[in-house]
Amino acid sequence: MTRMRTRFVVLHLTVLALLVVLGVRLYQVQVVRGKEFVADATETRTRAVVVPAVRGQILDSTGRPLVRNLTRLVVSVDRTRLERMPRGGQEVLEKLSAVLAIPVAKLRERLRSCGPGVSRPCWTGSPYQPIPVDDRVTQREALTILERQEEFPGVTAETQAVRDYPGKADASQVLGYLQPVTQQELEKRQGLKASYSGVDLVGRDGLEAVYDHELRGSPGLRRVQVDRMGKAIGVEQQISPVAGDTLITSIDARVQELVEKALADAMKKAPQADGAAGVVLDARDSRVIAMGSVPTYDPGVWTGGISEAEYQRLLSEKAGKPLVSRAIKGTFAPGSTFKVSSVSAMVADGYPINGTYDCPGSYMVGARPFNNFRGIGLGPMNLHTALVKSCDTIFYRAAYEMWQRDGGMQPKSTAKDPMAAMARAYGFGKLTGVDLVGESPGRIPDRFWKKELWAATRKTNCTRSKTGYPEVKDAARAAFLKQLAYENCLEGFQWRPGDAANFSIGQGDVLVTPLQLANAYAALVSDGKVRSPRIGWALTRPDGSSHKVIEAPVIGKLPIDKKTRDYIRGALSEVASDGTAAGAFGGFPMDVVRIGGKTGTAEVYGKQDTSWFASFAPTKNPRFVVVVMVSQGGMGGSAAAPAVRQIYEGIFGLTGKPPALPAGHPAERLPVIGPDGTVKR
């Protein structure tokens, strides 16, 4: 028995050793690494399901919806459940295919996850989020699925909110659009990262982008406890979604409609026009009442995912890049509309406001003659008439004299550059700060700009000054270009008298956006203060419980006194009745509403002129500033001015139709939103 006893001792020790091994390992798993497994357990045991918040509406100044939400019946498929069925839920998909009349292969395409080598359509979101396979389902189809759930396990039909644009293509560039959130944006977000789904949309342009945070609201979260099969067995945590704010804008849907129509008509009348923009501002506070840009497009194309072909069309040159708002991104030479700045500069620089100035047909700026329009001399006149008749030579002369006083080709260190300084004071050459995305600052050229340009282009110019332009067929043109290259190579860094002269009439290298011009006119005809225009007027809770007014801040002040401003306004008040726009405004009831303004015809090399009309009304105590620009539209009085007239006629109801704005006033008070979300007007 001793041998047996020895072996029992060995057994005893072995058993104890094994028990110690188990104990130590248990300690390691449960005590040392416990926290790690708690995290793993939470991850496997729960699924976070994001409940999207209803995005806020965008309303016009009277509460009419510009962007609203429509509910649409959407059929979604839970892929995790499908995968656990025999043959990957083929049977269910076949039944679904019969109901929705979509081939099974197409359904499968939509259900696969996006990834390398998988082209659209595919699913970018979380596999635990039901994947929408059809978002235009009829009531009957939805009921078929909901009533026979046992035949459609994992398939749901529910209503979802989608963006809807009652005004179709109106103000589409201002409103902007939504696109699915990108991976990078997701990573920047805290907390909801893992579970944010591809249905989550982000404002990409316009108001949707600028006010994205407020419109978005905050999504709810349901942390669902699931079992091994992914079946929900309980809710662990529930955070209700908070609907986004409603954005009330100062846009008036009817005026916007007028602007869109006027721009479209102007494009039709000017055969070579390739684009147009119109801006209507509230003259007193620079709130935007309407802003249009053509060609335009229906933002409905973004809803439910844009097709690749449609997207390429929106970006194409051929379609006129309808995504781009010419009102804030298009930069054009302003032509004579710019003369308000030049007159202001002259007065500020000491030119007598009531003085008499000669308006010859041609003026020698240095060694080069600069001509009036069509070279016609208009004789002596005051600045008032210079604006009304749009004399150029008076401004050439003033610009040349200022240039000389600044030291000419050897500029003094104290050079004042009164014309450029005044232009900047009007807000040209810098961003207006409007609440839109991608605004262009335009360009106010000066000595510094020339120097930079010269440094950047010297090499090409100096080479060309030797080699010439053999590829240019026209011999005279080639010679001109060679001479230009030579001059630019040699003294391109200099602010030459010709530059100064061109600048004074809004030609040459001056570039402005239609919104900048409108904003400058608003400052001129109101209180002399330059404001940052605003489209957003107020943000309110969807039940109207609170609202936050968005201010249009004052960002500058014109360095001219009221007398000068009134003088210029007075001069512009005769342009439509007796000046360059008299033709366009023939028969307009000036006794009812008197329109003031300035035409502009800016020459663009190799293209038709840019047609401008910058206006305001009524001339006494102006309420509106309306600017229309027609690219390649020809004369200011022939393309832009008629469009402006059409807009005013609509606003004030001068053609028999009821006025777009009651009594010709923009909305004074915010629309009242009731607790149920309805608007009381």
Partner: protein, 388 residues
């Protein structure tokens, strides 16, 4: 040394044998009894917790069946513990033949397949029997009978008995392998090996047995005799991350469930992994994960310590037994329980490959409970049968 003649045992009524002054019940190992009772109680709670979410209609259905199993097991345990273990020796061949018959019946069309293993006989009424479980105590009894008779003038078994024992064991294992049931085959191997070792065979024979075992294991592996799922389980054990959704899933989920219990556990019925049934077979082979999650390190350790108490008491009973048969039976029962305990707990905490073996006294399972209780009954019988 000779075993006592059976004729010395007087004929007495069952009642007087059960509660008479010299009845077995008063000479029982109390510590063993308490430990087994505690394990059964904990096991009952765990089975309840892990099965109550199965059907909303009858959340206590499996609990009731488990309690019934325990009652039957307790009766079996009590009956066996009352029998003088020397008499058991006489019954050994009968028990073995019955077990063999039942195993043979399984491979006929009478048997049924559950979870890929053709090892069941359906009894109707929702009850089923797994003969391979009962083969464990039956084989112990037969081998102990064969090997407890030493050769003349030695304390080693006779070579003929060793050969017979190996044949009997081989026959049993062969039938179990046909099901196929790798786990039980391993237990039977451990039982056979432990009986051979404790019967006093020479060290070189032990070495030879080990060598043969290793060679056979190697052949089985390399000749591809294992089922694909068995190979996969082993691969997954070596590297659970290789297939987290497939075979490695069990191992990973078991670790998560146990680890997330931390020190104090989440409380009975509060284990989210258990409620969500993330660990498959959590009421049978993976019951220890429920203990780990809901009762924490302290609870899981208690289960291990209680099992340890059973084993240590078993060894003590084996050592105190004054005949070779009793000692061999006790030792074999200990090795059987020890092997299943270590493999079962080990696989749930990632130090052993996944093997379909229940945790003694804790896992749900009718026949396994009966077998375990018979094992305890044998230990008690040997304990109370010793000369005091």
């Amino acid at each position: 040394m000779m075993s006592a003649p059976i004729t010395r045992i007087r004929k007495r009524s069952l009642a007087s044998r059960a509660i008479g002054t010299d009845a077995a019940v008063w000479r029982m190992d109390g510590i063993l009894f308490v430990a087994v009772a505690a394990l059964c109680t904990i096991g009952t709670l765990l089975v309840w917790s892990s099965t109550r979410t199965w059907t909303a209609i009858e959340p206590t259905g499996l609990l009731k069946k488990h309690l019934l199993n325990l009652c039957v097991g307790a009766i079996l345990c009590g009956l066996i513990s009352m029998v003088d273990h020397r008499r058991l020796r006489a019954y050994a061949p009968v028990a073995y033949m019955m077990a063999l018959l039942a195993l043979a019946l399984v491979i006929t069309p009478v048997g049924s397949t559950v979870n890929g293993s053709h090892s069941w006989i359906m009894l109707g009424g929702g009850f089923a029997m797994q003969p391979s479980e009962l083969a464990k105590p039956a084989l112990i009894l037969l081998l102990a009978m064969l090997l407890s008779e030493p050769a003349e003038g030695t304390d080693r078994p006779r070579p003929l008995d060793v050969v017979l024992a190996l044949l009997a064991a081989g026959l049993t294992m062969g039938l179990v392998m046909l099901q196929p049931d790798l786990g039980t085959t391993m237990v039977l191997t451990v039982i056979t090996a432990s009986l051979l070792i404790f019967s006093g065979i020479r060290k070189r024979w032990i070495a030879a047995v080990v060598l043969v075992a290793v060679t056979v294991a190697g052949l089985v592996w390399f000749l591809g005799l294992l089922q694909p799922y068995q190979v996969a389980r082993f691969t997954a054990f070596m590297n659970p991350a290789s297939d987290p959704r497939g075979v490695g899933y069990n191992a990973t989920q078991a670790l998560i469930a146990i680890g997330s219990g931390e020190i104090y556990g989440k409380g009975l019925f509060e284990g989210g992994q258990t409620t969500g049934r993330f660990v498959p077979e959590q009421h049978t082979d993976f019951i220890f994960t429920v203990a780990g999650e809901e009762f924490g390190f302290l609870g899981a350790l208690t289960v291990v310590v209680l099992l340890g108490v059973v084993l240590v008491r078993g060894i003590a009973i084996a050592r105190q037994s004054d005949d070779r048969f009793g000692a061999l039976v006790a030792a074999a029962v200990v090795c059987w329980f020890a092997f299943q305990t270590f493999i079962n707990v080990g696989m749930t905490i990632g130090i052993m490959p996944i093997t379909g073996l229940p945790l003694p006294f804790v896992s749900y399972g009718g026949t396994a409970t009966f077998a375990n209780m018979i094992g305890v009954g044998l230990l008690q019988a040997i304990h109370s049968g010793r000369r005091t």
